[in-house]
């Protein structure tokens, strides 16, 4: 197929408002197919989670770019607390239509965002032989992508945390930041 002249590139078009939607089932089918795809190629649960995380990272990088234009008026976040709030509210609301259920500090360098029922896990039941696979590793990847590209390198992982009196465990996203992030935080003062 021949290209017809120069095309209008997507950066020359106005930024979409981000209001368009597709059906939840379309996303669920796509996500399940992605998990299947990675499952056939991963030799262990840890590898499968790592692959899902990698897939999410790309989404996070792009989400940060688009949202910093759209909602932050091109301002860059330089404080740890600020970027965490941004993920907790703006990113979550944009991607999943609600803010995350909680954001907690464990240690100085360890933070946890927790969500009662992550969108990606709603239609997924993990078979016994896959143990404690949590497909929200994909969301952990999104968080990692945002943090890395914003200059807050961190290790992010997703795991189930049982809640007393409830059948379904919550999913926690555990973030451990690199020492340089905390050094900078200390330098910037309060």
């Amino acid at each position: 197929m021949q290209r017809k002249g120069p095309q209008i590139s997507s950066v020359d078009r106005p930024l979409p408002k981000g209001k368009s939607e597709v059906s939840l089932s379309a996303f669920a089918f796509l996500f399940s197919e992605i998990v299947q795809y990675h499952r056939t190629r991963a030799s262990s649960i840890a590898e499968l989670e790592r692959r899902l995380e990698d897939a999410g990272t790309g989404v996070g990088v792009r989400m940060l770019e688009i949202l910093s234009y759209r909602e932050k008026g091109n301002r860059r976040e330089i404080r740890l607390q600020g970027i965490l709030q941004f993920i907790n509210t703006n990113i979550w609301r944009c991607l999943f239509g609600k803010v995350a259920d909680s954001l907690e500090v464990y240690n100085d360098d360890e933070y946890v965002i927790s969500d009662r029922s992550p969108l990606v896990n709603r239609f997924i039941s993990v078979p016994k032989d896959l143990g404690d696979l949590n497909c929200a590793a994909f969301v952990a990847g999104i968080i990692k992508g945002v943090l890395d590209i914003a200059g807050f390198p961190a290790e992010v992982s997703a795991y189930y945390a049982p809640v007393e009196g409830q059948i379904h465990p919550r999913t926690n996203f555990f973030m451990k930041f690199s020492p340089e992030v905390l050094d900078r935080e200390a330098r910037l003062g309060t």
């Binding site: 197929m1 021949q2 290209r3 017809k4 095309q7 590139s9 997507s10 979409p16 981000g18 368009s20 939607e21 597709v22 059906s23 939840l24 089932s25 379309a26 996303f27 089918f29 796509l30 996500f31 399940s32 197919e33 992605i34 299947q36 795809y37 990675h38 190629r41 692959r51 990698d54 897939a55 999410g56 790309g58 989404v59 792009r62 989400m63 688009i66 944009c94 991607l95 999943f96 239509g97 969108l119």
Partner: protein, 180 residues
Amino acid sequence: MAQRPTAPRGRNPEQTGQAAWMATEKVNAELFTLTYGAIVRQVLHDYEDCVEDVNKKLDSMGFDIGCRLVEDFLAKTSTTRCGDFKETAEVVAKVGLRLFLGIGTRVGEWNPEGTECVITLDTNPLADFVELPEKYRDLSFSQMLCGVIRGALEMVSVRVTCEWARDALRGGDGYAIRLL
């Protein structure tokens, strides 16, 4: 548990599709677009940039989705058996694509025998933000969608060939799928 709202049966496919779309739960299209982009990139990487194989793989992944998706489709729209291929094409375009992707479509360019048509998409949520570099010019980025249609129709004993007739990413004018 609250009863899920069922879509009232409209008179024509357009209305059925619209009603089903209103009743269904939705997610942000950007999440969908970027997630789809992530899988295409992964497949490209895994197949070492062999575009032909990637197209095939995307198509077969779509086929698997289609096989499972048809059940969801029938449950949500209470569609009955289609009389002829013309009706089938209308239902795919007006109900199916509307229900899952929320997009408007037109069916046209029928051949005289009525066995081939082109579904034109108003927008393509799979390909937002996408530009293909020169080395991937033969990549059929949204091939998965064709696979989905093929898979879903296969499940209701309609065997079709489904391919992109026009693809804006490859220099075409808008997005259109050929069904035959």
